[in-house]
């Protein structure tokens, strides 16, 4: 939402849940630092770059510890370091009980994880390791 700061936007799901602001204030700040938005806490969305917006959206999606997280190209607009951090965030969430489904074109990303894979190739869905065929 354009009239709320990054912090307020990320805290929105918790506010909607009716949680007390004093209970979650530190969690939100910590998460923003983790996704590399520590210096953008009080910034408004229109001043954020595409990558920053994406990270804020991810933070907002995970702050409420959802049961299922669908991430479509979560590392598409971010540099590799931040990408790795986001990946670790997803792993942590998964450890805490969230099912995470990531859609990506980044094979490197997949290689970093010991996770079940579904490959969509020429309209066919395959389970298991990617079959990269040279043309």
């Amino acid at each position: 939402m354009d009239h709320l700061t990054t912090w307020e936007n990320v805290a929105l799901p918790l506010r909607v849940m009716g949680r007390n602001e004093s209970d979650y204030a530190d969690d939100v700040t910590d998460l923003l630092h983790w996704v590399g938005l520590g210096n953008r806490i009080h910034a408004y969305p229109e001043t954020l770059s595409g990558g920053e917006k994406q990270r804020a959206a991810i933070a907002r999606a995970v702050i409420g510890r959802p049961e299922l997280l669908l991430a479509d190209e979560p590392t598409g607009n971010v540099d590799p370091a931040i990408g790795n951090r986001l990946l670790r965030l997803f792993v942590e969430l998964n450890r805490l009980g969230t099912s995470v489904i990531i859609a990506t074109h980044d094979y490197g990303l997949m290689e970093q994880l010991e996770a079940p894979r579904l490959m969509l190739q020429e309209g066919q869905l395959q389970v298991g390791a990617p079959q990269i065929t040279a043309r």
Partner: protein, 332 residues
Amino acid sequence: MTFLSDIKDYPWTSLLAGVLPARLAARLPKRFRAPSSQIVPPASVAGRALTIVIAIMTFLACLTAGGVYMVHQSASAWVDDIASEVTIELNPLETADIEKKMTLVALFLAKQPGVARVKPMSADDSAKLLEPWLGSTAALSALPVPRLIAVEIDRSEPPDIESIQNALTQNFEGVTLDDHRRWQSEIKLITRSTALGGIAVLALVAAATIAVIVSATRSAMATNREIIEVLHFVGANDRFISREFEQHFLGLGVRAGLVGAIAAAVTFLLMPFLLSLLGGGSVTEAETRRLLGNGELDLGGYFLLALTVVVVAALCMVTSRLGVFRVLKTYA
């Protein structure tokens, strides 16, 4: 039970922040401030035009409620007044020595049980009663103006008016008793019609207010459609969304209501002056005063004005809540 938990969970402490203009709200102690920026921007809900409309509605409602209350108060005071008195009328045409007859009748009345006080009125008094209608003229003394005796009744043990009346007609000629019953019923009728008229006006004002708020709620929701979508996306239920909107409408109702009620209070304070300004002749003034008393609102009346503000604010809030629910249903 949801209503009770609604009341319990309502962010009452931040309510003050919603009611005050943003500049003042920022200066409140932290406890009373809204926890974060408001999710729905206030400016997108309650514009100046809407505030003015609600203020005018409240002003009209207050004027009506106060006016009806005033009529009711002065009428019941009047009824009270005339119920404790009966008037004896002596026809001067059938009597040679009217003064002597006055004394005799007064003495007779004083002896009756249940009579607290007997007050014979002089010819001058009678003339004064006619003055607003006939003017102050020497010709009055030449006219056979009926003479009056005011009899105050002991209200703890009221007399049998009928037996007094019979005794009077038996003992004296040309003497009639008026127990003001006709007046009382007429005053009651007037009060009742005024009250009915007032209720009709209040109902119209309420209907207009509801219509305005419904349309304002719709346009506020259309303006903030994206916000509603994000809220749905992060898991907000309809109750949460409606609360975000209704707190603005509650604030609007309180702010505009106060403005309208204060304007009405000032009008009532100036009423005695306005009455004499509009009163015209002494007859009109006498009639107006009879209907409205001296035109001053007592404490109960001002309480009624405060109550009107509460009702207007509640009306704004409840209407907007129902409006939000209704619109959300169409989104689904």
